[in-house]
């Protein structure tokens, strides 16, 4: 007797020794290593804030309204990404394209906010990569995250374009899902950065 699972190319990809698609497992392993990467950057920032707490008047530099807005934007892009993956699994290409486009659009807004924030810090607040220890750790940490967002936008954009070609197949839903895992990870890293780098500074001890 033939069944749907025997014919579905997505189910065929699960026939590995682990039972998990190889691409997906490789992405989870990469994300685990990226956790350690961001862990070191966050540690460096927090340690220097702890060792030299009075190096900058951080609340005067930050613009929490803008950062809060960009956080909402990134969370919404994650929601659209989840819908893109769901649409890809349903083989609903028009819906997948709209949601992917929305994710990329929100990602670009987030990047725009970050670029605006950086130029505001550099030109209006005189905070640069080499002006103080706070500037060094802040720009390296948030800049690395921004590079991850930019790479994610490029990756999702390539799948959006690819989905318009004849070469896009049903099994490519897994590739969209793997790209989605990366995008969600960028979102969870920002959830941590938003709290430990920005919000904690506003607590008056």
């Amino acid at each position: 007797m033939s069944s749907h699972t025997d014919n579905d190319p997505l189910e065929e990809l699960k026939k590995t020794s682990t039972g998990v698609e190889n691409k997906k497992l490789a992405m989870w392993a990469f994300l685990a290593s990226d956790c350690m990467f961001f862990g070191t950057l966050i540690s460096t920032h927090l340690i220097y804030r702890k060792v030299y707490p009075d190096v900058e008047d951080v609340i005067d530099i930050f613009d929490i309204e803008l950062t809060g807005f960009s956080t909402f934007i990134l969370l919404m892009s994650s929601f659209l990404m989840a819908l893109s993956v769901s649409a890809a699994h349903k083989n609903n290409l028009p819906s997948m394209r709209w949601c992917l486009g929305g994710t990329i659009f929100f990602g670009l807004i987030f990047l725009g906010c970050q670029v605006y924030e950086f130029q505001h810090f550099v030109f209006d607040k005189d905070l640069t990569l080499s002006s103080s220890i706070f500037g060094s750790t802040f720009f390296v940490l948030t800049g690395t995250h921004g590079v991850h967002v930019a790479l994610g936008i490029f990756w999702l954009g390539s799948w959006l374009i690819y989905s318009f070609t004849d070469r896009y197949k049903r099994e490519n839903a897994l590739d969209v899902e793997v790209a989605g895992l990366y995008w969600h990870f960028v979102d969870v890293v920002w959830i941590i950065i938003f709290t430990v780098v920005y919000l904690v500074e506003y607590i008056e001890f």
């Binding site: 927090l46 349903k90 941590i192």
Partner: protein, 113 residues
């Protein structure tokens, strides 16, 4: 039951499952927005800083877990994916905590650059 009927039932079940996920994703995103709004407000509320700090940690943790559990499909994937990710997350968290405990404030102030 013939092959075509079997396939049709399986596809219907798959579609129903994905349809259900839409509402889950929507509810999770609403919860994430509300938690972020609370985070933004709570830092201005004149209460004990320890309570604010604790609330921020708990809310960030909930947001973090919500995204990886539902948006990143760990809820529906095999446990192996969770274990692989947790291995890196635990090492990273342990490193951050250990380093934070190792260092203390420098009484001589920040070095001049």
């Amino acid at each position: 039951m013939d092959a075509s009927q079997n396939t049709s039932n399986s596809v219907d079940h798959h579609l129903a499952e994905e349809h259900q996920k839409y509402f889950t994703f929507f509810n999770v995103s609403i919860a994430l927005i509300m938690l972020t709004a609370i985070e933004l407000v709570i830092v201005y509320v004149p209460i004990h800083p320890g309570i604010v700090m604790g609330s921020l940690v708990v809310m960030s943790l909930i947001k973090f877990l919500a995204v990886i559990w539902w948006f990143m499909h760990l809820r529906w994937d095999m446990i192996l994916c969770t274990l692989v990710f947790l291995s890196g997350l635990i090492i990273a968290t342990g490193t951050v905590i250990a380093l934070m405990l190792l260092f203390s404030e420098d009484p001589s102030g920040a070095p001049m650059i």
